[in-house]
Symmetry: C2
């Protein structure tokens, strides 16, 4: 069981705090709006009403004792940046900050955020792509250097089965789906035969995906 502090309980901060709490961790929530604090008082381990960018306040709660701090202050860029900087200065181990835009994100990282997130922008991009194009898979967040790519199949795959081509062994990629015209075959059987014009959605290391494209 870890312990976290969430500063700023807007839509993002609130959901973040509740998720961590429901996973069984200790969560301290902070917000300068007493109504927000009141509403969240039974939903977290502890909720405090305070200005987040106040150095004395942050010192008094021992921010270096938390496993991570989440800065969910969105519209007040100054408070968001100042809070992040103070957390870093006071020895906070890991800081995630919500960013308004790229410039704000750059500054947050400069002053010590370990990770910045763009919830509105990222979901908008994903939903917009899904709406306007025929992607097999909306989006995927994979660890490290793995990703998913959609590509036309190499000519020499036409007429052969997945098993025959020994794709996983030879190319070290995983075929997630085959798109054939307007039809979609997710998790195709190994006996599936590729046809001219097929598009595949494959997952693998970036280097292996690149190698496949030039075949």
């Amino acid at each position: 069981m870890n312990s976290y502090i969430v500063l700023g309980l807007g839509r993002f901060g609130k959901a973040f705090a509740k998720t961590l709490y429901n996973l069984g961790h200790d969560v301290l929530g902070v917000d300068n709006n007493p109504d927000v604090v009141q509403e969240m008082s039974d939903e977290l381990t502890h909720v405090i009403t305070s200005e987040c960018s106040n150095e004395d306040f942050l010192k008094s709660i021992g921010v270096s004792n938390f496993d991570a701090a989440i800065v969910g202050i969105g519209n007040n860029l100054q408070a968001s940046i100042l809070t992040t900087a103070l957390l870093k200065e006071l020895g906070c181990k890991y800081i995630i900050s919500k960013a308004q835009n790229d410039l704000h994100a750059k500054v947050l990282i400069t002053v010590g955020a370990n990770r910045v997130v763009f919830p509105e922008r990222d979901m908008a991009i994903r939903v917009a792509n899904n709406l306007a194009s025929q992607n097999i898979i909306d989006s995927i967040q994979l660890s490290g250097d793995y990703s998913i790519m959609e590509t036309n199949i190499p000519e020499k795959w036409v007429g052969k089965t997945i098993t025959e081509l020994a794709i996983r062994t030879k190319y070290r990629v995983n075929i997630l789906a085959i798109k054939r015209g307007s039809e979609l075959f997710i998790s195709p059987a190994p006996s599936s035969i590729f046809m001219e014009g097929d598009i595949v959605s494959i997952m693998g290391r970036d280097s292996d995906l690149k190698a496949l494209k030039v075949h």
Copy 2:
């Protein structure tokens, strides 16, 4: 090439509109804040300054001619709901609305939204889960009734290879990764032998994933 209208150009609406525009579609942006309109004026096909929930205005732009409308008004629940309702009434084909919370979402759907999105909440849940637990894959949005599940392997898989078990053919699921202690094998080779305690990340139809769990 489609044509879209985005009402409310906050962080979400702005990113949505730009994504559609950059995909080559016609995008009309609307916001009642002239500074926002000014800032976006070269980024979309056309940007107008107007109150979005105004019926005469919506009538004048012929909302039924757009392929879809996106309501990116967040904090003003009344305007968000009214705009969505008017779009529906005036024959808009497809409406996506940003929701503040579950109750707001229910109302939006009742008045005609085809889809509601919770950017802040959804990303918070995803990042929080990623932070506080050891998920192999952050999250994945798949079409229809496919999903990804992490589960302990059935006892009878221990000591056998993926090929031997004919997993894709027999269970109709795709093994995306094997988690062994703190090690992670993404896109494992078909010759991989399962060991006691292994956790697998598998993708398949919800019904097939369920069937696997009870084995």
